[in-house]
Every structure is written in C-alpha cells, then in structure tokens.
C-alpha cells in the first residue's frame, strides 16, 4: 500500500509539473502576488487606522490585511483543495479508478491538501514577504517561527474540515460556500459570529500569526489559543476520519455512480 509520504511527494511532483507547464501564467502570478501586496498601501488609506489600533493594538493595516490574505490563501486551499480535486475526478471519471486503488482514502485526501498548500505557498510567499517587510519594526525570528507554526497547525486543522467537505462533495455532488471573516478584525464581528468563529481553527491561527508577527492584542490569552488550536485539530481529525469511513461505506453499498 502506498505510504502517505509517497502520496504527498507524488502529488507535489504532479502539481509542480502541471503548474510549470503554464509558464507565462506561473511568472505573472508570482509578480502579481508581489504587486498585490504593495497595492494594499492604497487600500489602507480608506480605513480608520485609529479604530484598528484601539481594537487590536496595532495601526499597521497594510500588514494586517496582507497577512490575512496570505493566510486565507492557505486556508482556502486546505478547506477546498480536496473538494475541488474530487469534483474534477468526478467530472473526468477518474474517481472510479482512484477508488479501485489500494491506499487510505483519508491519507490520499490529506496528502493532496498538503501538496496543494505547498503549491499555494509558492504563489503567496512573495505577498507574505511584502507583509513581513511592513512588519519590520515588530518582527523577530522567534515571532516569525511561532507565527508560522501557528499557521501550519491551523492549516492542518482546517485540512480536516477540507476532508469532511471532500467527503460531502462525493456524497452530495455540490457543497455550499463557507463563511470567511479573516480579513476583518475578529473583535469587529457581531457576537453571534464571534461564537461561530471560536469553533473554527482559522480564528486562532490568524490571531496567533498576527500576534507574533505584528504584536497585535490577542483575542484571549495565547496559551488558551494554542490549546484551542490543538484541540480543534484532534476533534476535526476524528470527525474527518469518520466522514471518510462513512463515504467509503456508502460507496461500497451503492456504488460511486449512485452516491
């Protein structure tokens, strides 16, 4: 049975080959990523930086929003990457072949999410670097390390949600969009949305990244946020495993075409 590492490595190989075959698109997407980062300078003028300062303890809206967008790109990949992959396999007919192969469906989904996240990193790393440039007054190596670690744990937890959505795609063909509020200060959201936000790993991941890189005021003590993040990773991983098992059971009973 192919290992998760092999599945991941070969998914990265496949994605990189595909990506670099569209050379012009590849180059311009990288350039666009840098330009987009600097473009945020214009947008920043439209915001009340004092209000942001009062809410999160930093007036650096440029870094705040670019970090949010970079973070969102990884999260979106983790959340929808595998669902998109399964939708593609469904329309091309590859899903039948995939399900006839001897590997863990869970690790197939997880390794493809990881490969897609790595692919996203290539495109969004330039924009992320622009954000770091704007945080030079507060940035430390340890802060960067902890911020990126929080991001990775958060992406891993969101990837579990992605696995659940991928299972839903096969079961229900289409799944609706999920809310995204990462470009707004969490404190600005109405209380009901804040309650929903606490149950999502992106909230803590984004908040920790901004805290370590920009020294913003966290929404709760950072140790609680770390604990919440790891707890969510475990809970969502269990749910994702169950969702994939349920999907396989349904596929065996009804056949993939009838799901």
């Amino acid at each position: 049975m192919p290992s998760a590492v092999k599945l991941f490595y070969m998914s990265v190989w496949r994605n990189l080959l595909t990506m670099t075959r569209y050379k012009a698109n590849f180059i311009f997407e990288m350039l666009g990523s840098v330009l987009f980062g600097f473009g945020m300078l214009i947008l920043a003028m439209a915001f009340d930086t004092n209000m942001l300062g009062n809410l999160v303890g930093s007036t650096n809206y440029v870094a705040f929003i670019i970090l949010g967008i970079s973070f969102q790109s990884w999260q979106n990949t983790a959340l929808w990457g595998s669902a998109g992959m399964f939708q593609g396999e469904l329309s091309s007919g590859q899903i039948d072949y995939t399900f006839s192969c001897p590997f863990s469906r869970y690790w197939y989904i997880a390794s493809n999410i990881a490969a897609s996240a790595l692919q996203s990193t290539i495109f969004f790393a330039p924009m992320f670097c622009v954000a770091l440039y704007f945080t030079s007054s507060t940035l430390t190596p340890l802060g960067l390390f902890l911020g990126l670690t929080a991001t990775m744990v958060s992406v891993a937890a969101v990837a579990q949600l992605g696995a659940i959505f991928a299972s839903l795609v096969l079961k229900f063909r289409q799944t609706t969009a999920i809310f995204s509020f990462f470009n707004f200060a969490f404190q600005m959201l109405p209380v009901p949305l804040q309650i929903v936000g606490y149950s999502l790993p992106l909230t803590f991941g984004m908040d920790l990244l901004r805290y370590y890189v920009m020294e913003t005021r966290p929404i709760m003590p950072v140790t609680y946020e770390w604990a919440g993040l790891f707890l969510q990773l475990v809970i969502f991983a269990v749910i994702a495993k169950l969702a994939v098992l349920y999907l396989e059971k349904s596929a065996k009973e009804q056949g993939l075409h009838y799901l």
Partner: protein, 252 residues
C-alpha cells in the same frame, strides 16, 4: 473481502466506461502512467518505468509516450486508460467497453495485445462490451446479460450451438424493401434476419434456399452477391435477441 479490501484492490485492474478523460491533461502519457503506477499502485519506480515502455511497445504507443495527454485523440486517450489498467500487472482486470472509441486497427492491436498479455501473465480479463467481435476475439467465456439477468454463460461456440443458428446466408446489401424482406423470411427454414453490416438470413439449410433467394432478388431487380457464411457471434446474438429466450432454449 471487506477486511482485506486493499489486498483485493492491489490485485485488480480497472478501466471504466467513458473514462477516456480520466488522466492528468498537462502531464505526458509517460508521466501519467508513472504517477498512477508508482503513487497509487505502489509499483517500484524502476519497474513502473520499465512496464510503461513494455506496455507501450505492445500496443504500438512508444512514439506517443512523451505527448501531453490533452494532445491525444479520443481513441488514444482510451488506449492510455487501458494501459493504466494493467500497468501494475493485476491478476484480474475489469475493462468496461475498452475499445469503444478506438479506430479498427488500434482496436484490433489492443485486443491482440490484451489477449496475449492475459495468457502470458495468467491474468483474468473481465470485459463488458456490446462489440461481439471483441467478445469473440478476446474472451474464452461469455456471459450474456439481458435486462439485468444473466441469460447464458459459456463459450462462444456453445452459445452459437445453443441458439441453433445452423447456417447463414449473406446478401451483399444492408437495406431491402419491406415486401422483399417478408418474402425472404417466408422461405422454408428461414428463422430470422439481421441487417448489420449486411443482410443475413439465419436458416437451417442455406444451400436449399439459395436458388429461391436469388430468384426473389432477381424479381426485385437486385443484382447483388449472395454467399453462405459461418454464423458469427453477432448472428447468434441477433437471433437470441430477436427470437427470445424460450425459443432459444427449445431450439425452435
């Protein structure tokens, strides 16, 4: 089987119906086959490379191994999907209409290779097909399914015997007037008629009705070749479908 599902998956190969788009478009044929063999089927990398070359040579695809999948014709894509189904040397391989979109020459080459491959490697091939020629050429045993029910299991010659198509007379046209068709069907010993690729009369004794058939054609102003042919599986199948199971069983 549920407990050892991955062991079962390891020994089976599969190519589904309408799956000719089911590979990565921007990868070459070689890259696609390597990816599926090495990543998804756990074939060692070196072996996967060798098998890619070997199978491509067998079906005459070596010159197109480095073409992007998207640049292939529909038939070529289908052939890649069939190659993918046997890349890991399965013990049992399920192919659903494998030569559906292949041109006649490619289809024949693929069938010959698959049959030889199955014999050389001890692989069981399970093929679903509407193509009687393919079934007759490749399969040792047939299962005839009609409206979801298995109506017959056995060899092609057993099937032909069972439906009692003794002899067939081929008329070199594929379309006759309704009146002429009725007259031909009314001849003694004529059991049924099929129309593709040419008109064929299935009867007990072709020789005895030959002169009557020629006379009827002459009266209709038709000057076409008429000959006695060995009934094919398609003839037997057409007879089976047109006359129903009961008549076949009783040999009426």
């Amino acid at each position: 089987m549920d407990k050892q599902e991955n062991k079962v998956r390891q020994i089976i190969g599969y190519a589904g119906q309408d799956s000719e788009q089911s590979a990565y478009w921007r990868l070459s044929v070689r890259e696609n086959l390597l990816y599926f063999a090495y990543a998804l089927r756990d074939v060692p990398y070196k072996v996967a490379k060798e098998r890619t070359e070997e199978i491509a040579a067998g079906v005459g695809f070596t010159d197109r191994l480095d073409r992007h999948f998207i640049a292939l014709s529909g038939g070529e894509k289908q052939l890649v999907i069939v190659m993918r189904a046997i890349i890991h040397n399965p013990q049992v391989c399920f192919l659903d209409e494998p030569s559906k979109s292949l041109d006649p020459m490619t289809g024949r080459r693929a069938r010959t290779y698959l049959k030889k491959y199955a014999q050389d490697h001890g692989m069981t091939l399970v093929i679903t097909t509407h193509n009687m020629l393919e079934a007759e050429e490749v399969c040792d045993r047939l299962a005839l399914i009609d409206h979801g029910t298995v109506k017959f299991i056995g060899t092609s010659s057993e099937f032909k015997k069972r439906v009692t198509v003794k002899e067939t007379l081929e008329i070199g046209v594929n379309n006759l007037s309704q009146e002429l068709e009725s007259n031909l069907l009314a001849l003694p010993g004529v059991r049924s008629m099929s129309r593709s690729p040419s008109v064929r009369l299935h009867c007990d004794d072709a020789f005895s009705i030959l002169s009557d058939v020629v006379d009827l054609l002459k009266h209709s102003g038709l000057k076409v070749p008429v000959r006695m042919v060995e009934p094919s599986l398609e003839d037997a199948f057409a007879f089976f479908v047109e006359n129903g199971e009961d008549e076949v069983k009783t040999g009426a």
